[in-house]
């Protein structure tokens, strides 16, 4: 019966982004003609290498993608995540700039602010019935403005040892940010699948009217999803600020919404809502980061850098589609028959 397990694995949404990552790694190995890409050494008591970088720098997108998954699952979308990253970083930065405030307080305030912003888009969507793209677009524009206002349009330097650990520290040799994201993923997985929350989210996304008629507080479920997304974005903003020891409210988090949506969709969650896969989103985010690093490694000129990204998306699209899968399946069984 191991074959059926293999088959069910092949049908899981994680397979294709995973295959993409492997392919990219292979491209790197072939290009370098060495295993430098895969090399991981120990420096200063922690792991050091390209793969570690991918995990560390990819953790922000992974985190944002986690929240985005829930929003997309309730058939919404959150364009405000990039701006909320800036807001989170800005709030923490101005509080930390004054020695008097503790790191914990600054972080709590930052997360509270972004969660509140998430709630605001949630309310706009559920209560005022604004279309999700528009509601979060408004927040995207306003959020960036607020972040700039908080920091007065400057990049604020943050020098606090405790805070720096978030984005630069290591736990058990691994980047702390990655450990954090994985822990959050596991936590979310337990909460969503052990409680009925996961089912509620999928139902609300699959057929909103039906779930309301079946007695679900759809509005509450959606608001929570947007709030979670805001929270994740805020935390990602903190990770970013900590990583570069500064809050960049002008440009920080730019285009994160597209990256996160890409990660979620590649990870097998449909943009129309319903069924979702958190793991798929994480792997999708890693795929994106691997691609970025691969382009640095191959020395692709910045001018044509968007093209490989496009090709990757198209490739994943083709792999994911039923049609080509059936075609591949045909090849597979033909081979086996032979």
């Amino acid at each position: 019966m191991s074959e059926t397990r293999l088959q069910s694995f092949c049908r899981s949404p994680v397979v294709w982004p995973l295959a993409g990552i492997l392919l990219l790694v292979l491209v790197n190995l072939v290009h370098d003609r060495s295993t430098a890409f895969l090399q991981v050494t120990v420096t200063d008591g922690h792991l050091y290498g390209t793969l570690v970088d991918i995990l560390n720098q990819g953790s922000r997108c992974m985190l944002v993608a986690l929240g985005m998954t829930l929003v997309i699952a309730v058939s919404g979308v959150d364009l405000s995540v990039g701006s909320l990253m800036a807001v989170g970083a800005a709030v923490a930065a101005v509080l930390l700039a004054r020695e008097a405030h503790s790191v914990a307080l600054a972080m709590t305030a930052a997360l509270a602010a972004t969660a509140l912003a998430g709630l605001a888009s949630g309310l706009l969507v559920t209560w005022v019935r604004v279309q999700p793209i528009v509601a979060t677009l408004i927040l995207m524009v306003v959020g960036r403005g607020v972040a700039q206002l908080i920091t007065d349009g400057n990049v604020i330097i943050i020098q606090r040892a405790g805070f720096e650990f978030l984005g630069n520290g290591y736990l058990l040799g691994l980047p702390f940010s990655t450990v954090l994201v994985v822990a959050l993923y596991l936590g979310a997985q337990v909460v969503l699948r052990r409680s009925a929350a996961g089912l509620f989210i999928e139902a609300a996304g699959d057929n909103e009217t039906a779930s309301r008629f079946a007695g679900l507080a759809v509005g509450r479920v959606k608001c929570l999803a947007y709030m979670t997304s805001g929270l994740c974005a805020g935390l990602a903003g903190l990770l970013a600020a900590s990583n570069i020891r500064a809050a960049d409210t002008l440009r920080g988090g730019e285009n994160m919404e597209l990256d996160a949506i890409f990660a979620v969709v590649v990870g097998g969650t449909a943009l129309t809502g319903g069924r979702f896969s958190l793991l798929g989103s994480l792997v999708g985010a890693l795929l994106l980061q691997t691609l970025t690093v691969t382009m640095y490694n191959l020395g692709v000129p910045p001018a044509v850098a968007p093209v490989p990204k496009a090709l990757l998306i198209i490739g994943v699209c083709l792999l994911q589609s039923e049609k080509s899968r059936r075609w591949l399946g045909g090849l597979w069984s033909a081979r086996k028959a032979a």
């Binding site: 420096t43 349009g153 630069n168 970013a240 570069i244 002008l250 440009r251 970025t292």
Partner: protein
């Protein structure tokens, strides 16, 4: 927040590029505070990085009948039609910060600017002198397609062309952002190991990000790796004083006084020089510490 304009107050429209960096914020502040100081009714327009927004702003200024228009162009081309309109409406235009390409020079009254190409050249010259014309360079480019990135790359390449042993071995875009600068540097460090000597960054933000990556890799920025950058924001100059950056070329954002001087003269019908440059300096280990207390941005 602007004081109520008196009937005779000059009305000046300023089409800013956006708020993409600390440098730009300093530039905007300079223009705004100087306008307040001189009692000028400033119409400020932030184009959010989009050239089309800027053209729209200028056209709106024309419709509003301002006394003069100041433009800090996002791109050098694309100004011809709208400048013609301004000329027809007899509104003088001052081009600031970077030049515009037009077929007819009379379309604008004067240019007050920084010279991105000059900055790139200065960085190349300093580097050639400092290293004796030898070294392998990693370049951190600014936002792809943006004017400063284009100019700083090209002029730098021209500047080092004279030294066959000074070569750019890899060049990636860090989008003028600290985060990207760090990320790109991390990747390049893995790729090139110790086989490079110099980092040339198109702005300070990326350089500061790159320094963090270099330090994390166990190298000493400024010693193991020579770092040259452009802008000279306060944090950058501080890094020079600390010996982490070897040299920053200044790109002075404080245009306010010069710009309004020119406006006043033009409106009064007095002649102004066609081209003026904000004096750009250069900071290295010799003068950074001394300059630090007076840095405004």
């Amino acid at each position: 927040f602007a004081p109520a304009a008196s009937a005779k107050a000059l009305k000046v429209g300023f089409a800013q590029t956006g708020a993409e960096s600390g440098w730009r914020t300093a530039n905007t502040d300079s223009m705004k505070s100087e306008a307040v100081a001189r009692g000028i009714d400033l119409k400020f327009a932030d184009a959010q990085g989009k050239p089309e927004n800027q053209i729209r702003a200028v056209r709106s200024f024309i419709a509003q009948g301002v006394d003069a228009i100041i433009i800090a162009p996002i791109v050098t081309t694309g100004w011809e039609p709208v400048l013609r309109e301004a000329k027809q409406a007899k509104i003088p235009v001052i081009v600031m910060d970077r030049a515009v390409q037009v077929s007819d020079e009379s379309l604008y009254a004067c240019f007050i600017g920084s010279d991105f190409a000059e900055e790139g050249r200065m960085a190349a010259d300093w580097l050639a002198k400092y290293t004796g014309g030898k070294g392998r360079i990693l370049e951190l480019q600014g936002t792809t397609g943006s004017d400063p990135a284009n100019e700083r790359r090209r002029a730098f390449a021209e500047g080092i062309a004279k030294y066959p042993d000074l070569k750019v071995i890899d060049s990636q875009s860090g989008d003028f952002q600290r985060q990207q600068g760090k990320e790109v540097m991390e990747a390049l460090l893995k790729k090139h190991g110790r086989d490079f000597d110099i980092v040339y960054s198109h702005n300070d933000d990326m350089a500061l990000g790159a320094i963090q990556a270099i330090e994390a890799a166990g190298l000493k920025p400024g010693k193991d790796v020579i770092i040259v950058s452009i802008d000279a924001i306060k944090e950058g100059v501080t890094a020079v004083a600390d010996g982490k950056i070897n040299c920053v070329v200044e790109c002075n954002p404080l245009f306010g006084p010069k710009a309004y001087d020119a406006v006043a003269k033009i409106v009064a019908g007095q002649p102004v020089p066609r081209k003026q440059y904000n004096k750009d300096g250069l900071f290295d280990a010799t003068n950074a510490a001394a300059a630090l207390p007076t840095r405004q941005y």
